[in-house]
């Protein structure tokens, strides 16, 4: 039988040797999802009947000796903002209640094509707007390490599902840190690839110039093998980079000697960073140095403006993207409106939650006549300066290392009444989205019993070097093997 915390490659071997069937693995994942739903609430919806049928088909392929890939038959989860034919997608929003997709997202289709079985859709902040998975129409997800804490967000359901051993891997999306921050809070690996590396076709748009799909796993090696599957050019997404999927798993040779780690001085003196987090990250840097990496200081002077830049650009794009929810073509429509305008207003006012409304208002404001230059255009100009910072820094180093977050998982309710405090949780992550570069979070220690994330940032298309360093770090440290108590 597959063990709860088996890696993708262990599960793959057990499937290949018939030690376990896909039906058993998928059944166990569904049972664990059910059993933890009342405590964790990691899922918005499960698809037990379809998942079991697909598992049986996978088992039949294995019996015939025709598996589609090493992933054939492995249960996975997807965030509730990626569409799958015939399945609901709600983005954890009332406004998409009842929506059933007529098509499948490219990243999901590639996993289906490899034979992976989607067991369900994970919880998230509504439309991926949030850093705690509390802004969900179906209620918050909790952190498997400590149920009073948030799992981070917005992909908190995916992070919690992987951390709690429900599935070995899950897809998430990252617009300003929505994969890396929950990976950090839940003690798992999360990678946001280069913008354009993974197709956004079928990912419900939040901020189109920043959104990117990525993966959650319990090891760098698993992240590499899953990311290989979903990467690569897709003609359905005009921002998809016309490059083939990179070879990632083969790059993990455990060797980081000669690689140069850049430490941005601005990130290590920032106010409001938990000293325990800083100590864990400094310990990790020392470990990389012992492994043969060279360490040098770099400077990213404009990162102190990253949060302001990000929240102006992301909300502007969101206000435009979310104009499509008008009650006409899909989703919820308010009843009893006397005319079209009233129908729009009532549908949107009833359908969107507070945080989504706040961001639509902010975005509409910064795009409106009279404020466009002062806010939106200014933010786009600072974005250019920030990109330049990274270009210069990567002239002097291979990988930039920072904490993923200034803190460990915070309590439920701690920041819901202070939007700006919630936004500041993304202080180390938003820059990668603004610059389009890949970023990864791996566990590097515990503070007060909660996981700390180490963030590795690489140059555009530099996923392989990030995963290589993450894998080398895992081989030398015990952090990645730690599991939350209470979820044995």
């Amino acid at each position: 039988m597959g063990a709860v915390f088996d890696s993708l490659s262990e599960l793959s071997q057990k499937l290949a040797s018939r030690e376990v069937s896909s039906l058993e693995l998928v059944g166990a994942a569904l049972a664990r999802a059910d059993a933890t739903q009342s405590t964790l609430h990691a899922f918005v919806g499960l698809r037990p009947a379809n998942a079991r049928a697909e598992a049986e088909q996978s088992d039949a392929r294995r019996r015939r000796g025709e598996p589609r890939s090493p992933l054939d038959g492995i249960p996975i989860a997807i965030k509730d903002n990626m569409v799958q034919t015939g399945e609901p997608t709600t983005c954890a929003s009332r406004i998409l209640e009842g929506f059933v997709s007529p098509y499948t997202a490219t990243a999901v289709a590639r996993l289906e094509h490899a034979g992976a079985v989607v067991i369900g859709r994970t919880n998230m902040d509504e439309f991926a707007m949030g850093s705690s998975t509390e802004h969900s129409s179906s209620g918050p997800t909790r952190n498997p390490w400590r149920l009073a804490s948030t799992p981070g967000g917005s992909s908190g359901g995916s992070a919690a599902a992987v951390a709690a051993g429900i599935v070995p891997a899950a897809l998430g999306s990252d617009t300003g840190g929505s994969i890396r921050q929950p990976a950090s809070f839940c003690g798992v690996v999360g990678i946001k690839p280069t913008y354009g590396r993974v197709s956004r076709w079928g990912l419900v748009a939040f901020a189109s110039s920043l959104d990117q799909i990525g993966v959650f796993t319990r090891s760098a090696r698993d992240a590499a093998s899953l990311l290989e599957r979903i990467s690569g050019h897709d003609p359905s997404d005009s921002t998809s980079i016309p490059e083939p999927a990179p070879e990632l798993a083969s790059a993990l040779d455990g060797d980081v000697s000669g690689l140069v780690v850049g430490l941005p001085r601005e990130c290590f003196v920032a106010e409001g960073v938990d000293p325990g987090v800083l100590a864990a990250v400094e310990g990790a840097v020392a470990e990389l140095e012992r492994a043969g990496a060279k360490v040098r200081e770099v400077s990213l002077p404009h990162t102190r403006h990253a949060i302001a830049t990000y929240y102006l650009i992301a909300t502007a794009e969101a206000s435009s993207n979310l104009a499509r929810y008008d009650g006409v073509r899909y989703g919820r429509r308010a009843s009893g409106a006397r005319n079209l305008t009233e129908m729009y207003e009532r549908t949107r006012s009833e359908g969107f939650g507070e945080e989504v409304k706040r961001r639509i208002l902010l975005g509409t404001y910064v795009l409106s006549a009279g404020y466009y230059d002062a806010y939106y255009r200014k933010a786009q100009q600072v974005r250019t300066l920030l990109r330049g910072d990274f270009e210069r820094a990567f002239g002097a180093c291979d990988v930039i290392v920072t904490p993923t977050c200034p803190e460990v998982a915070f309590d439920l309710g701690a920041k819901t009444s202070d939007p700006l405090a919630m936004y500041l949780s993304d202080i180390y992550t938003v820059s990668a989205n603004l610059a389009g570069i890949p970023g990864l979070s791996i566990p590097c220690g515990l503070v007060r019993g909660l996981p700390v994330g180490l963030q590795l940032l690489g140059p555009a298309l530099g996923e392989a070097v990030l995963l290589r360093m993450a894998d080398a770090f895992e081989r030398r440290t015990p952090h990645q093997a730690r599991r939350p108590e209470g979820f044995p």
């Binding site: 929506f99 059933v100 007529p102 280069t194 913008y195 354009g196 110039s209 003609p235 921002t239 980079i241 016309p242 403006h305 949060i307 302001a308 929240y311 102006l312 104009a323 008008d326 009650g327 006409v328 073509r329 899909y330 919820r332 429509r333 409106a337 006397r338 005319n339 079209l340 305008t341 009233e342 729009y344 207003e345 009532r346 006012s349 969107f352 409304k357 706040r358 639509i360 208002l361 902010l362 509409t364 404001y365 409106s368 002062a374 806010y375 255009r377 200014k378 786009q380 100009q381 600072v382 974005r383 250019t384 300066l385 990109r387 939007p419 700006l420 989205n433 389009g436 570069i437 555009a460």
Partner: protein, 101 residues
């Protein structure tokens, strides 16, 4: 001085087709004001002669052959409509002036 007033919040809400209650409009005005005050720090950055970035990874406009392909089945395209008639979306009256009728 506030960066955004409650009146402006209501104007923006109307543009975004959102209606806020009194309490929500008041609260949003104060929260947005705090966020805009924070964002105003960007005004300190010298951006003269800096081009704005719309996309971080610039790509040439992708072109493809102009070849016909089967579209989404019209039945599927309207399957999610809250109200439909055949393959058309039904909406409330658009033209003002006869709201009772």
């Amino acid at each position: 001085m506030a960066r955004i007033t409650r009146d402006e919040v209501e104007k923006v809400a109307a543009l975004a087709r959102l209606s806020l209650g009194d309490e929500a409009a008041e609260r949003m005005a104060s929260e947005l004001d705090q966020i805009l005050e924070y964002a105003w720090s960007l005004s300190q950055v010298d951006t003269s002669d800096v081009e704005p970035t719309a996309h971080a990874i610039p790509l040439p406009t992708p072109l493809r052959e102009d070849r016909a392909a089967p579209p989404l089945d019209p039945e599927l395209a309207v399957a999610n409509a809250p109200e439909r008639e055949g393959s058309a979306f039904v909406v409330p009256k658009v033209i003002e002036g006869d709201e009772e009728g």
